[in-house]
Amino acid sequence: MMMSRWKWPTYIMFHPLEGFDDLRWKKEGSVRVSIVIIALFFISSVASRQLTGFAFNEEYTKYFNVVPILFSSAGLFAVWCIANWAVSTLMDGEGKFKQIWISSSYALVPYIISSLLHTILSNVMLLNEGIFLSIIDTIGLLWSVILMLSAIKTVHQYTMSKTLFTILLTIAAMVIMVFLIALLGALGQQIVTFISSLYFEIMYRFIV
């Protein structure tokens, strides 16, 4: 069976078990497709913050800053891939980083679709019809979780229990990474303020 690389994500969506297997053996995973998916993931996050119907939107919309959204979508995905790669390397996983990245990104598709659907429908729905939106959210999330499990399982050729264990370890590794990044950021900021205050001190003393 030959498919264009753009059809793979939808094929995988409806064939969560053999889909990733096919992808692995036929080496049909495409970085370009995965980047488009991540971009869509980011766009859907922005859209759900800014374009959700007024009655449903509880966000603080007075200010808009795209950087935190970028970090919490694409950034978080990157952290997930790195953490999973690090953990699976120690746990005899067979997957390469590229495979982890591609398979994980394909697994996000249902979540992105549900999130976009939520954003669109919230503009035509009333608050007491909101239950449908939460059903959509739940389905999208569960679907993506199942796909993600299957993706990790196939990429590393794990058993189910090992997959679950690896994912738990991955989440722990993600927490540690985020903590370290925050720590480094804070330290870097301290250094920058230290150097800049030193600079100004010297300037005021000797130059001005």
């Binding site: 007024f54 009655a55 449903f56 603080y60 007075k62 035509v124 009333l126 608050l127």
Partner: protein
Amino acid sequence: MVLRNRLSKRLSKLISFTLLLCMMVATLSMGASADEPYQGYTYDEWADPVPSQNGYIVSQVISGKDLGIGSFNEPVDIFYTPQKEFYIVDRKNNRIVILNQNFELVRVMDKFYKDGQETTLVEPNGVFVDENGMIYIADSGNSRAFRCDQDGNIQVEFLKPDTEGISEDGLFLPQKLVVDKAGNVYISITGGLRGALMYDKEGNFVSFYGANRVAQTAEVLMDQIWKLILTREQRMAMRRNVSIEIDNLDIDEDGFIFTVTRTTTQVLDRVKKLNPSGINIFDNAQGNEYMFGDYATTARTGDESTLVDIDIGENGIINVLDQNRQRVFQYDRNANLLFTFGGQSNQKGMFTLVSAIESTEDEVIVLDSMKQSITVFKKTLFGSLVHEATELYNRGYYDEAFEPWTEVIKRDGNYVLAYKGLGNAYLGNGDFENAMEMFELAIDRDAYDRAFEGYRTEFLRANFTYIVLGLVLLIVLVKLVPWLIRKYKKSKGKGEGAA
């Protein structure tokens, strides 16, 4: 080159001129609001303060010397009587000062007669006057409260009741009091953990009234768990979690009693509206969101408002006094914040230690027990517009309130309540689109949803045929176009094969 230079010179001139103009306009508009030492504000949906026009401005500041009776010494309570007089408790001078409507001295009461014998006040704390001109005074230093006539003849004394819930050896210090239409007297006392004391008009103790609840904090829960384990002796030695005493009371026209509690440790029960059976109507546990005083801006404790007095004015307007930032918060009868004014400083209209608040038809009077003065605030035009509009609005006359709300918006485009009012007026008239816009400005999601429901129904009804047509067309296109493409490809393939 020359041309370009000239051009850029012109441009820079133009820019500098525009900038200058902007600055002038800015200073001018600043000057318009800078005549009061405080800047009023309200809170929006996200608990951000939004600057607003002042509803009240200072009209006069009165000291004891102005009245010719010597300086006040800790004025702690003021009451505006049905006879349109002001009764002021001058605590450390042990006297009651009576002023008329125009803040001129009527008389000073410092001598009272009990069974013909003269008696004086010792550090009184509260005063109340009923419709018949009977005066009720909380005479704390003498551990009593009493009712007397206009000449100071004491008729009934309200003494420490012999009941459980009041420690026998502790001091009995009545603080503030209110009297309902039936003549029942409600007295808040120091250490009144079970609420205010309620007496009948003969001076007999009836019951406790309106006790505060104990907030369920993690600490309290821990203590309760410990109590399950510990022995009786250990339990007795434990710190007890008791409710906080009521600090001040007021009663409105309908007989509801309002209480405030000077607590910074819990939000629970800070301001209560009690019905005759002592049930709190301003209860957030019922799914409402009544907020009084400043919203805590940070998690820092000690930053919250310390509410010390409450006053119910005309049309159920609620005035609350905050001793932390020395501010007055004014709410409508449904506890929507209307105005804030006052603040901490030595300027006129600002305070160092506020102690009591009272209001008349168009004035708010605040006592300062450190400055020893009476400050009178007068309602502005903006204030009266807002009051007129809220009163109509709260009675459900949305249409009639439209006009005053528009006037309010003209003067203050940030006034959130006005947009709610306008939105409801539009909604009542079936103008859903405008209603939606107004509710969006007011950030009122539920009201917006109601307007949107109407809008959607109307839209669907008007465009039903087009929508159905559009859907059919869409399906046809989705099904038809790929089929056409396939056919085209096939025929092309055939053509190639033939060639």
